[in-house]
C-alpha cells in the first residue's frame, strides 16, 4: 500500500469526489491558485478550473453563507475556512442557517455542504491561530463534526462527508498535513460516526481524536513498553455522530477511562464522552475518569509555553498512569 501525506490524501479525496460528482466544487481563501494555506487543494485548480475551484474574498461569513446557499440550491460545496479560529465570523451561517434549514423547512431542503478547516496548536502562531474549538459545534443540533487524525481517515471521511446530506464541519489539524500513512489505491469510504480502535488493551481506555489520537497512541505504546500498561486506544474520528458504543464497550472491559483533547479543559468536547460513560457505564468504572486537555488559557506564542499548554506524550503517559493507579 502506498504511503502518502495527509494533505495528499485530502487532495485525492477532493479529486475523486469532483470527478465522481459534478455538483462538487471548492471555495475558500487562497485555495485555487495558491493551493491552500497548507496545500490541501494544490493542483486542483489546474485540473478542474476556476468554475469548480474558486478563490473567495476574505470573508468567512460569505464563504459559509455561499456554501449553505449553494448546497440548498443543489450543489455539494466543499468550502474552506483557513483557520478554525475564524469560524466565529462564519458562525451565524453555519450554526443558524446551515445547521437549521433542513429541519426548519420540514425536510423540503437539505444542506449537503462540507466546511473544511483546520485547528490546533504547535506552530507558535499564538492565541488567534491555534485554537481547538470543536466543542462549540457539538452544541448545535444538525451539524456533524469530523476530526480525522491520519491520511487514511482523512481521505475516507472527507469522501463520506461530501456524500452526506448533512452539513459537516470537517476539522483538520495544522500540524499533521505532512504526516504520512498508508492509503489504498482503490476507493474506500470511512463511515461517519465510526470510531477506530488503534490499539487493543485491557487496563485503561484512552479516547481521543485528531492529532491527540496520534499522541495518545504514541504514549500508550510507550506505556506498554516501559510500564506494562496495556491501554486500549480509541480514535473517535467523528465527534458527531459519536461512536459512543465503541467507547462504552471498551470501558466495560477496562474499567478506566482517560480522555485526551487539544481543546481547553473547561467545556471540552470530551466532557460529553465522560457524561455518557457516566450515564451508561457507571457501574463499570473502577477509577474516576480523567481528562487530559489543554490548559484553560489562550494558547501562548512561546514554544515552551505552547508545549506546556497542550498535552504532550510525557504528560499523557503520566496522567494515564494515575488513572491506572501506578
Amino acid at each position: 500500500m502506498p504511503e502518502i501525506e495527509y494533505r495528499q490524501a485530502i487532495q485525492d479525496a477532493l479529486r475523486e469526489e469532483m470527478k465522481r460528482d459534478e455538483r462538487v466544487f471548492l471555495m475558500g481563501e487562497d485555495i485555487a491558485i495558491y493551493g491552500g494555506a497548507y496545500g490541501a487543494t494544490r493542483g486542483l485548480y489546474e485540473e478542474f478550473g476556476e468554475e469548480r475551484v474558486r478563490d473567495t474574498a476574505i470573508s468567512e461569513a460569505a464563504i459559509a453563507g455561499g456554501a449553505v446557499g449553494a448546497a440548498m440550491a443543489g450543489m455539494r460545496p466543499v468550502a474552506e475556512i483557513m483557520y478554525m479560529d475564524f469560524l466565529t465570523i462564519a458562525m451565524d451561517q453555519l450554526a443558524n442557517q446551515g445547521a437549521k434549514n433542513r429541519y426548519m423547512f420540514g425536510g423540503k431542503t437539505t444542506v449537503p455542504m462540507v466546511l473544511r478547516t483546520e485547528g490546533g496548536a504547535g506552530r507558535c502562531i499564538a492565541a488567534q491561530h491555534s485554537q481547538s474549538l470543536e466543542a462549540w459545534f457539538l452544541h448545535v443540533p444538525g451539524l456533524f463534526v469530523v476530526c480525522p487524525a491520519t491520511p487514511y481517515d482523512v481521505k475516507g471521511l472527507l469522501k463520506a462527508s461530501i456524500r452526506d446530506d448533512n452539513p459537516v464541519l470537517f476539522i483538520e489539524h495544522k500540524l499533521i498535513y505532512g504526516d504520512t500513512g498508508e492509503v489504498p489505491d482503490e476507493e474506500y469510504l470511512v463511515p461517519l460516526g465510526e470510531a477506530a480502535v488503534t490499539r487493543a488493551g485491557t487496563d485503561v481506555t484512552v479516547v481521543s481524536y485528531s492529532r491527540m489520537a496520534n499522541r495518545s497512541l504514541e504514549a500508550c505504546t510507550k506505556l506498554a513498553e516501559e510500564d506494562g500498561i496495556e491501554a486500549e486506544v480509541i480514535d473517535l474520528r467523528c465527534l458527531k455522530p459519536m461512536d459512543i458504543d465503541r467507547v462504552l464497550d471498551s470501558v466495560r472491559k477496562t474499567g478506566r477511562l482517560a480522555l485526551v483533547s487539544e481543546g481547553c479543559k473547561n467545556g471540552n468536547a470530551v466532557n460529553e464522552i465522560a457524561m455518557r460513560v457516566n450515564e451508561f457505564a457507571f457501574d463499570y468504572l473502577d477509577a474516576p475518569i480523567k481528562r487530559i486537555c489543554a490548559a484553560d488559557v489562550p494558547i501562548p506564542m512561546s514554544p515552551t509555553l505552547e508545549d506546556a499548554t497542550v498535552p504532550n506524550v510525557d504528560r499523557i503517559c503520566a496522567e494515564i498512569k494515575e488513572v491506572v493507579g501506578q
Binding site: G255, F282, D283, Y284, L285, D286, A287, G325
Partner: protein, 454 residues
C-alpha cells in the same frame, strides 16, 4: 547488669498470663517497685512491679501474648548493655489464641472467684482493661469506605460483601482488583451456596470463617451466627472472656436450685445505725449479712461444701466472696475466715478488698477459696434476682433492696423494712432443706441482730 524480668507466679493455680499492657517502654528508666506492666490471668488483671533498677532494655513479650510463668518477658540493665544470646524471647504460650482460662475443666476445691452473679454492671462504660489479640472477625470501626462503581458491581455479582474487602486504590478505595484478589483466595474455601448468600447479606468474611461441615466446608450455621448486621463490635477483654467461660460452665454444668425468702429488717436497720453512730467503722448491710452467714454455717455446716467430682469436700472455714462490679465486668474478692471476725473487722477488710478490686490491685489469693458469694443489687433498686453460682462454690446469695412493705403481722397489716434474699444452690452438694435451714437462720439472726455481736 542484666536482669531478667519474668512472668510472675501470682497465685497457686496460675500457670500463664497474658501481657495486657506495658506501662514502661523500651528505654525507660525503672526503679524498684515501679509498675512495669499489667498482666491478665484467667482471673484478674494485675500489675507487675519491677524487682530491679536500671533501663528497660528489651521487651520480649508483646502486648496480647500469653506467656507461661517464669518465662522471660523483658530485661532490665544498664543503657546500651548487650543482651546475652541465651536470654531469648519466650515462645508465647499460644500466640494465636486469646487468653482462655483453664479453670472450668477442673473440679477444684479451691477455685477462684473471678466471676459470679448476674451481670453487675448496670451501664456500659468504656473498656478499661486493654484488649486481647483481636479475634479474627472483628469489624473495623464504622468509617466511610470508598469503592469504585466497578468494584461494587463486581462484588454484588460475585456475592461478596464490600465489608470483607480491603481497598488498594487511591484513598484506600476498593477497586476491582481487590474483588478479584479476594475471589482468588475464596477459591480455596469450600462454602455451601446458602452460606455464601448469607455471608453476602450479613457481610461475613468467608476467608475468616471456620467451616464446620465435611472437609471444613463452611455451612449455613457458620455464617448465620457470625456477625450481627448492625451495632458496634467490641473485642473481648480477657476479663469478659473469663466471665463468659466460667458462667457458661456454671450455668450449664451446675444444677441450680433457688430459694427466696423475705427478711424482716426492722431490727437490723436501727441496729446498724446505732453501731455506726457509736463506732468509728462504717458497717454495711453486706458486712452484717456476712456475719449472719457465718452463724448460719455454724448451724448448717453441710452448706460449706464443694463438689469434687467423685466426692464432696466440707470445709471448716467460712470464706465469703463479695461481687464487686467494675467498669466492664466484675470480680469477687473473698473475705477469709469470716467466722473468726467481728463486724468491724469484716467492714474494714471488705472495704479494703472492694477498693483494691476497683484499682486492680487484688492478688490471686484475694479472690480464691470462697464458699459462698454475696451479690447485692439493692443499691440499684432491685427487689430480688436469681444469681448464677460462682463455680467452685456451693451457693450464692442474691440480695435485693431494703424497702418498706406492708406485711401481715399477727392478723394486722404492718409496715416494715423488708429485704428479699435469693439463694442459688448447687444441687450436687446441697439440698433444699439444708439451704432452707441456712436461710432461716439468717432470717432469725436479722430479727435479733444482737447475736451478731457475740
Amino acid at each position: 547488669m542484666i536482669s531478667k524480668v519474668t512472668m510472675p507466679k501470682l497465685g497457686q493455680t496460675m500457670e500463664k498470663a497474658v501481657v495486657e499492657k506495658w506501662v514502661k517502654s523500651e528505654g525507660d528508666e525503672v526503679a524498684k517497685g515501679d509498675i512495669l506492666l499489667e498482666i491478665t490471668t484467667d482471673k484478674a488483671t494485675l500489675e507487675v512491679e519491677s524487682y530491679h533498677e536500671g533501663t528497660l532494655l528489651k521487651i520480649f513479650a508483646e502486648e496480647g501474648t500469653e506467656v507461661p510463668v517464669n518465662h522471660v518477658i523483658a530485661v532490665v540493665g544498664d543503657p546500651g548493655e548487650e543482651i546475652p544470646d541465651d536470654i531469648a524471647a519466650p515462645p508465647p504460650a499460644s500466640a494465636e489464641e486469646a487468653p482462655k482460662p483453664s479453670a472450668p475443666a477442673r473440679p477444684a476445691p479451691a477455685p477462684s472467684a473471678a466471676a459470679p452473679a448476674p451481670s453487675a454492671t448496670p451501664t456500659a462504660a468504656p473498656v478499661a482493661v486493654a484488649a486481647a489479640p483481636a479475634p479474627p472477625d472483628v469489624v473495623a470501626p464504622p468509617e466511610r469506605v470508598f469503592s469504585s462503581p466497578r468494584a461494587r458491581r463486581r462484588a454484588k455479582e460475585e456475592k461478596i460483601a464490600l465489608d470483607c474487602l480491603v481497598g488498594s486504590g487511591p484513598n484506600g478505595r476498593i477497586i476491582e482488583r481487590d474483588v478479584t484478589a479476594y475471589l482468588e483466595r475464596l477459591d480455596a474455601v469450600q462454602v455451601t451456596p446458602t452460606a455464601r448468600v448469607i455471608a453476602f447479606q450479613r457481610g461475613v468474611d468467608l476467608l475468616k470463617t471456620k467451616g464446620s461441615g465435611p472437609n471444613g466446608r463452611i455451612v449455613k450455621d457458620d455464617v448465620a451466627d457470625a456477625v450481627p448486621a448492625r451495632g458496634l463490635r467490641e473485642q473481648l477483654t480477657p476479663m469478659r472472656r473469663v466471665i463468659a467461660d466460667r458462667l457458661t460452665h456454671s450455668f450449664r454444668d451446675i444444677p441450680h436450685f433457688y430459694l427466696m425468702m423475705d427478711m424482716d429488717m426492722a431490727a437490723v436497720v436501727p441496729f446498724r445505725k446505732t453501731l455506726n453512730d457509736e463506732g468509728d467503722v462504717r458497717v454495711s448491710f453486706n458486712d452484717i449479712l456476712m456475719r449472719a452467714c457465718a452463724l448460719a454455717y455454724e448451724d448448717v455446716p453441710e452448706m460449706n461444701a464443694a463438689w469434687l467430682g467423685d466426692s464432696i469436700l466440707i470445709r471448716p472455714d467460712v470464706n465469703i466472696g463479695l461481687a464487686v462490679s467494675l467498669d466492664k465486668g466484675l470480680i469477687v474478692p473473698v473475705v477469709k475466715d469470716v467466722q473468726t471476725k467481728t463486724l468491724q473487722q469484716l467492714a474494714l477488710e471488705s472495704a479494703d478488698l472492694v477498693q483494691r478490686a476497683r484499682s486492680k490491685q487484688l492478688t490471686p489469693d484475694d479472690y480464691e477459696g470462697g464458699c459462698l458469694t454475696l451479690s447485692n443489687l439493692g443499691m440499684f433498686d432491685v427487689d430480688a434476682f436469681v444469681p448464677i453460682i460462682n463455680p467452685g462454690e456451693a451457693a450464692i446469695l442474691g440480695v435485693g433492696r431494703i424497702t418498706e412493705k406492708a406485711i401481715v403481722v399477727d392478723g394486722m397489716i404492718a409496715i416494715k423494712p423488708m429485704m428479699t434474699v435469693t439463694l442459688s444452690g448447687d444441687h450436687r452438694v446441697i439440698d433444699g432443706a439444708q439451704a432452707a435451714a441456712f436461710l432461716k437462720k439468717i432470717k432469725d439472726v436479722l430479727v435479733e441482730p444482737d447475736v451478731l455481736l457475740e
